[in-house]
């Protein structure tokens, strides 16, 4: 199985190279087949690996020594175990559907740009695969920064647009802030344990003092904040929708943002031993879940609503991690991958049909013209709202139950967030698909369902969004029904929590009822009378995202810019340089020879050599006179 593991990242890498180098000669269909085919191949291999892990357990494949420095060795090694094989399936499976969808969605692009797009997409999957397959934190970091690079390239894919470039740069820089935290955690581990290999780190965690443990886990979490868009590093993700829509699906569902969840789930041994870090993770997660949900309520760009909903759902996953429900968080990564990929691709289908219109106020009544998109999108909305038996219900319920056991307040706030989720999703649904069409006649005339390369992925994802939750049926309904938990148990040590069955029924009932009410409210409110005007009051603050971007700009960006300008124009020019030039002028003034140099006639080297020789001769002839003078001085 060792050699098979190498194939998983190798296929996308190959696709990247072929499409990248052959972008001028390959036809679009060849590009599409290569680009999607390599991911499908990876998926097939991932399936084989998955069943191998299921029956034979984990394996480690070491390719070569990567960095041997100081007293540590960091091998280029892959670890195929329960956690990574599950992520491999999500990444390559969803990834393949997105590639397939892209062949139709991006078809209007010129062929060399089309190839560039697929090359980037393949590289993205490659990086994400490295991230989850690595057997140590440094290989994870390679993938970690790799997905940052690819998101930069893809967000800025239409590079003529300055705003898109700005969004791309913002994504990369914000991620880098997190990456610094990750890197420091790696150094910390190396300095205390001399290794970053998962197996060795987790086996020796008891050698870490509690301060070390807290420091390391918090720094790792800083990394996760950047990659998984948590407060305060979340603002890049909504802007990241500047890229083509399938890219958003890839970033939000299959790759990139799930990396932070993966990292903490992978390090569950460390987190379970640091209460401080766990509480921080839970609080940041919960705060992000609520905060971004409020913003999503007032967004009118179809992709922006989805983007903030991703930030919010990621918050739930971190809440789960923070209260020790690692499996629940991973479970939610999985179900979220299904319905968020579905929703983004569905949004893409709408945008495609609407000729690049993204404002939902100009849509409405699309139900009839886009039947497949409509029904699949509705499935996604129900799934994310947590209505049983759709997939989102199971994973969200698991997180909320664990949160209740930890602290009932967490649960209460979590349910409030879930209500907001149901509300804004159905506001989006009702405004887009129900009511009457509000676009131009031109648009109405051209409204059409998307080609099958786009609808087939939608249908598959819709099915998964509906049934995907059945791998994690709670103990409450079926004894030993949580297949995922038992599968992951070798790598994830769950922090057990106990709630009475009766309590659990009540909690479940409340959260479902609240979501259902929010849905009905949203539909009744927006299907006939969508919000078309500009919001005012609190609505405006929400629509303007609490002015957080402006705040960052005023508090961080502007002062740094001012400091940089001060350094450049004042310190550099008149401070340091002023002194040097002053000395220079003094020398020039008092020295004829140097003035000759300044005229460019005689090289200063002559003077210099002469001076140097005089010094040597002086010392030599006087038999160490100068030396004695020196020593008498000191």
């Amino acid at each position: 199985m060792n050699t098979l593991a190498y194939l998983v990242p190798l296929f996308p890498l190959l696709g990247f190279l072929v499409n990248g180098l052959g972008r001028k000669s390959l036809s679009k269909s060849a590009t599409g087949v290569i680009g999607s085919g390599v991911i499908l191949a990876s998926f097939v291999v991932s399936l084989l690996l998955f069943f191998d892990v299921k029956s034979h357990g984990a394996t480690i494949a070491t390719a070569f020594d990567f960095i041997n420095g100081g007293s540590f060795k960091i091998p280029f090694a892959f670890q195929i175990d329960q956690l990574s094989s599950l992520f491999l399936l999500i990444i390559t499976g969803i990834g393949f559907l997105i590639h397939l969808y892209s062949t139709a969605y991006m078809h209007e692009e010129e062929s060399h740009h089309f190839a560039r797009y697929f090359a980037y997409l393949n590289l993205f999957v490659f990086s994400m695969l490295l991230l989850v397959m690595g057997a140590n934190y440094v290989i994870m970091f390679i993938g970690w920064e790799g997905v940052g690079l690819c998101s930069y390239l893809l967000i800025g894919y239409w590079f003529k647009n300055a705003n898109y470039n700005y969004a791309a740069k913002k994504a990369f820089v914000m991620n880098r802030i997190g990456d610094l935290g990750f890197l420091l955690a790696v150094f910390w581990l190396l300095s205390k344990l001399g290794t970053v290999t998962y197996g060795d780190v987790f086996a020796n965690y008891s050698k870490l003092s509690s301060a070390d443990m807290t420091g390391i886990t918090i720094l790792l979490f800083v990394g996760a904040m950047g990659k998984s868009a948590q407060i305060p590093l979340y603002t890049w993700l909504p802007d990241a929708m500047a890229g083509p829509t399938p890219v958003s699906a890839l970033i939000h569902a299959a790759t990139m943002v799930t990396a932070g969840i993966y990292m903490i789930a992978r390090s569950n041994v460390l987190y379970s031993h640091s209460e401080v870090a766990q509480n921080l993770v839970a609080i940041i997660g919960l705060a992000t879940a609520l905060f971004s949900a409020t913003i999503a309520i007032k967004q009118n760009d179809i992709k922006k609503v989805l983007a903030y909903s991703t930030v919010s759902q990621l918050g739930y996953m971190f809440l789960g991690l923070g209260v020790g429900a690692y499996t629940g968080a991973v479970f939610h990564v999985m179900t979220h991958a299904f319905f968020k990929a579905l929703l983004f691709l569905g949004a893409g289908s709408v945008i495609h049909a609407m000729h690049h219109e993204q404002d939902i106020r100009k849509m409405g009544g699309l139900k009839k013209k886009l039947p497949i998109t409509h029904i699949t999108f509705l499935m996604g909305c129900i799934a994310i709202s947590g209505i049983p038996p759709f997939s989102g219900f199971f994973s969200k319920d698991e997180i909320l139950a664990a949160a209740f056991a930890h602290n009932p307040v967490y649960w209460g706030l979590g349910v409030a967030g879930a209500a907001m989720t149901a509300f804004y999703m159905f506001r989006l649904y009702a405004t887009t698909f129900l009511g009457t069409f509000r676009g131009t006649h031109e648009q109405e005339h051209h409204l059409h369902e998307s080609p099958s390369a786009m609808t087939i992925p939608l249908i598959i994802l819709a099915i998964l969004s509906v049934i995907g939750g059945f791998v994690g049926i709670p103990e409450l309904f079926v004894h030993d029904g949580h297949l995922l938990k038992s599968f992951l148990s070798p790598v994830i040590t769950e922090q057990e929590h106990h709630i009475e069955h009766s309590t659990e029924y009540v909690l479940m009932g409340i959260s479902v009822a609240v979501a259902a009410i929010a849905i009905l409210f949203a539909i009744s409110k927006y299907s006939k009378n969508p919000e078309l005007g500009e919001p005012a009051g609190l609505g405006k603050i929400l629509a303007d995202k609490w002015y957080i971007d402006e705040l960052y700009d005023a508090v961080i960006v502007k002062p740094l810019d001012a400091l940089a300008t001060f350094f450049k124009n004042i310190i550099e020019k008149s401070g340091i340089d002023g002194i040097v030039n002053g000395v220079g002028k003094l020398v020039t003034y008092s020295s004829r020879q140097l003035r000759l140099l300044q005229n460019g006639q005689v090289g200063g080297y002559i003077l210099f050599m002469v001076l140097a020789m005089i010094v040597v001769v002086l010392i030599w002839v006087n038999d160490g006179y100068l030396y004695k003078m020196f020593t008498s001085l000191f």
């Binding site: 420095g69 100081g70 470039n165 990369f172 820089v173 450049k568 040597v616 010392i619």
Partner: protein
């Protein structure tokens, strides 16, 4: 014999170059000589162990013509030997008045550089140090930009002061040796009192700090880089800054271990301030060449900090980073030169949209840019990983502050990519075309080196292992 060849080939080749009047012949000859040097360097790498050469030179002074090529010297002479042909080919289309003298001086400077990296005798080291610099004064003051005279003067003042201090230091040590010898070994065996160390240390350190350069001794550099002809700038920043770092590793740390330990925090703080300071200034630059110059200062600052962390992992990082930084910055300068030669401007405000006109150059620059910010699987990541690790081991907070430079590096580097290559075309780039095949070929070579050493850095780390242990054992 190989160490001697590494110096003699460019030295004699350079002298001959003065007499080649035909422009094409001069360029061809210089390229031929640089390739011969490269061949000699590769032959040296192929041989294991330390290569030495020793001949009588000034026996009355206790100085001999002693050369020694251990791992670090082999690596740096390789960097020197690789850089020159790459520079010659990439800038082949550039025209200079009095071509033969230009190339002759370039080769003489190369000979000096080789000598610096190979000398095992302090007087010899000093001699080559000057031999490397003097041709650069000429190159900069004769073939430079508008402000060349003033800039060369500043450059000269800085390095002149540094050289004088270093000469004083060398002589001081010389008189301390029992047998009045300039040999590196005699210097290593000196037992210098802590008080003396604390004083003489600075004579050397300032000279090397100017050469690296480390904040606040750096202000000659952006001007010199900007005003020199680009081929000279490439030599300056790809190879010549390594003189300073090399000298700190080879001369300063082993000879003044106590002073190094005494002043380590001071120097590291200066270096880290310099990293942040230079990175911030780079963000505000409107000139491609000056941006690269400040970026380079920030990177060198990290190397300086890592050396003074005085641990194994730091030295290992510095070793490979000396090579990697040379390769990466060379690539950036080649791109800058390609743009300036074609469009006549380096100002961001006058550039934009070049990716549409020169997609090949754009892709290569993007790869170089990400190598410049040390993305994993590029060569710079390995070096920076080891060096940051070293700083972290020394002091966590220093690592945190130094670490902010990786964020700032992303900001200014992506600024550069965006302003030059992305967006819509502007009047000056409307009729731009793809960079010449020479330029692209050299960039592809560098990019391959970047990726190969980024994925598999082991040979490079192994090459300099012997030096790292020698240095650590000597102190």
């Amino acid at each position: 014999m190989i160490p001697l060849l590494l110096i003699l080939i460019p030295l004699l080749g350079g002298l001959i170059n003065f007499f080649l009047k035909e422009e094409k012949t001069a360029k061809g000859w210089a390229l031929l000589i640089s390739l011969a040097t490269l061949a000699a360097s590769l032959a040296g790498i192929a041989q294991s162990g330390t290569l030495s050469f020793d001949a009588a030179w000034l026996p009355t002074l206790g100085s001999s013509f002693a050369l020694s090529a251990d791992g670090m010297a082999k690596m740096l002479t390789l960097l020197t030997a690789v850089s020159f042909p790459v520079i010659f080919i990439a800038t082949n289309k550039n025209n200079y008045k009095n071509t033969s003298a230009f190339y002759a001086l370039m080769l003489l400077s190369q000979a000096g550089l080789m000598g610096v990296f190979l000398s095992a005798d302090c007087l010899l080291f000093y001699f080559f140090w000057e031999l490397a610099l003097i041709p650069v004064y000429f190159l900069c003051s004769i073939w430079g930009g508008e402000r060349r005279i003033a800039v060369t003067f500043k450059f000269f003042i800085y390095t002149f002061i540094g050289s004088l201090l270093m000469l004083g230091g060398i002589l001081y040590l010389y008189f301390l040796t029992p047998d009045h010898s300039f040999a590196l070994k005699s210097f290593y065996h000196l037992h210098i009192s802590a008080k003396e160390q604390n004083f003489v240390f600075w004579l050397f350190f300032i000279a090397f700090a100017i050469k690296m350069p480390v904040f606040p001794f750096h202000t000659w550099q952006p001007d010199a880089y900007e005003q020199s002809p680009t081929a000279v700038t490439m030599v300056l920043s790809a190879v010549m800054v390594k003189m300073g770092i090399y000298a700190v590793v080879r001369w300063l740390i082993p000879i003044f271990p106590e002073a190094t330990a005494h002043f380590d925090n001071l120097v590291m703080v200066l270096a880290i301030i310099g990293m942040i300071y230079a990175s911030l200034i780079a963000i505000r630059q409107d000139d491609l060449k000056r941006l690269i110059a400040y970026s380079s200062i920030a990177h060198i600052g990290l190397m300086c900090a890592a050396i003074f962390a005085q641990n194994k992992v730091g030295l290992e990082g510095v070793m490979i980073q000396m090579f990697n930084h040379g390769v990466n910055v060379l690539g950036l300068w080649i791109v800058a030169d390609a743009i300036e030669q074609q469009l006549g401007t380096r100002k961001f405000s006058e550039l934009g949209g070049l990716a549409q006109k020169a997609p090949g150059l754009a892709i290569l620059l993007v790869i170089l840019a990400f190598a410049n910010i040390a993305l994993p699987l590029t060569n710079a990541f390995v070096g920076e990983f080891l060096m940051f690790n070293a700083v972290f081991q020394h002091n966590i907070w220093m690592a945190v502050f130094a670490g902010t430079s990786i964020i700032l590096a992303a900001v200014y580097t992506l600024n550069m990519v965006q302003k030059v290559f992305y967006g819509n075309t502007v009047p000056s780039t409307e009729h731009a075309i793809e960079a010449g095949s020479n330029t692209r070929a050299m960039l592809i070579v560098l990019v391959i080196v970047i990726i190969v050493l980024g994925v598999y850095p082991k040979p490079m780390i192994d090459l300099t292992n012997d030096t790292v242990s020698t240095i650590l054992a000597a102190r």
